[in-house]
Amino acid sequence: MDPIIYNKIITVGVYGSAIGLILIGLYAVLVKKHLTKIVIGLSIIDSGVHLLFIAVGFIKGGTAPIFSPKGIELVNGGAQMVDPVPQALVLTAIVIGFGVTAVALSLVIRLYRHHNTARIDHIKSLKW
């Protein structure tokens, strides 16, 4: 098996799992009735998007963009550093995603307290 096939498999593996996560999350959000399951769907979509961010920034044979003594040695030895910008963006996106998930779950708790059920079809005014 020559390396071209290997690269193809790895590419399909990474992009495939990222897009798969987004689709599975989207399916959960659109189909599922239980509020907690919908929030799980949202967090799965978030995970998929974050994986795409890093996959796009990755460079084959690159090293982490840190100029520690070892890092400098590698760079002088001709290694190329990975693109740092998507990683900085993902750092912010992960913490924003956590903030939104925390607010969503507190809304779920309050809805349950109010209506004694956490299912969309049982909460009448939340017509979809």
Binding site: T11, L23, L26, S68, Q87, T92, R110
Partner: protein, 239 residues
């Protein structure tokens, strides 16, 4: 019928994403020549060591080049914490008190927690103090400290972090972050500018203002996440 429509929608979205991302080859460098930087990524790789003498390029980006993002980011977490408190706010009739919703834990967990908790705090502090040297920083260190407090919440049913201290730490850290920005503005440069000397690469006191900001972010994130856990955890009020 609705499910069929959703499946169709998912297939279309999946196909569009797959087709778009197939044009972006995985693992191929899009940075262009790092010496004459055209793209933003190449510029940061090229200039971080000379201009800021910070080892961790990502910390330099998150705190200095795009420090405004992080300021917005910390506000998002601050809003999530106060939004959470306002959503779950309940006026307590007299006699009611907050009770932890977790049951008492086993002896093993309690003694283990007592041993590990200080170690987690030290690890969290280490991570955000060395933000500009090793991987990690304010967000990661704060989250580790919050998971340390989580362990104590789990172990001891009536373990409470005083809400007063959390609010103080959170506000003071936020004010430190913004005033470092304003300090740049006052000293004639621009907002959030690195006004301190940047020292030599790879030793603790280097990178000028960057470690200060990231330590403030670390304290703030730790206080906020512990606040969020505390709000969610001791929620059931019984007579």
């Amino acid at each position: 019928m609705k499910k069929a429509f959703i499946i169709l929608l998912l297939v279309v979205v999946g196909w569009v994403l797959a087709d778009t991302f197939s044009q972006i080859t995985f693992g191929e460098s899009r940075l262009g020549d790092v010496k004459q930087p055209e793209t933003v990524g190449a510029y940061y790789l090229n200039n971080t060591v000379e201009k800021l003498s910070v080892a961790n390029v990502i910390t330099a980006i998150v705190v200095n080049y795009r420090g405004f993002d992080t300021l917005g980011e910390v506000t998002v977490l601050f809003l999530a914490a106060s939004g959470l408190a306002s959503i779950l706010y309940r006026r307590k009739e007299k006699g009611e008190h907050d009770v932890m919703i977790l049951k008492n834990s086993s002896q093993l967990l309690q003694t283990g927690a007592k041993l590990i908790f200080p170690a987690i705090l030290v690890l969290g502090a280490y991570v955000f103090i060395h933000g500009h040297l090793t991987p990690g920083g304010g967000f990661q260190g704060g989250a580790i400290i919050a998971s340390g407090f989580l362990l104590m919440f789990m172990a001891y049913k009536d373990y409470h972090v005083s809400h007063n201290v959390l609010t103080w730490v959170e506000s003071v850290a936020g004010i430190v972050f913004v005033s470092v920005g304003i300090w740049g503005l006052i000293s004639g440069a621009t907002f959030l500018e690195n006004v301190l000397g940047t020292g030599t690469l790879n030793d603790l006191i280097s990178g000028g203002v960057i470690p200060l900001i990231y330590i403030a972010v670390g304290f703030k994130v730790a206080a906020e996440l512990t606040g969020v856990l505390e709000t969610l955890l001791n929620f059931k009020t019984e007579k």
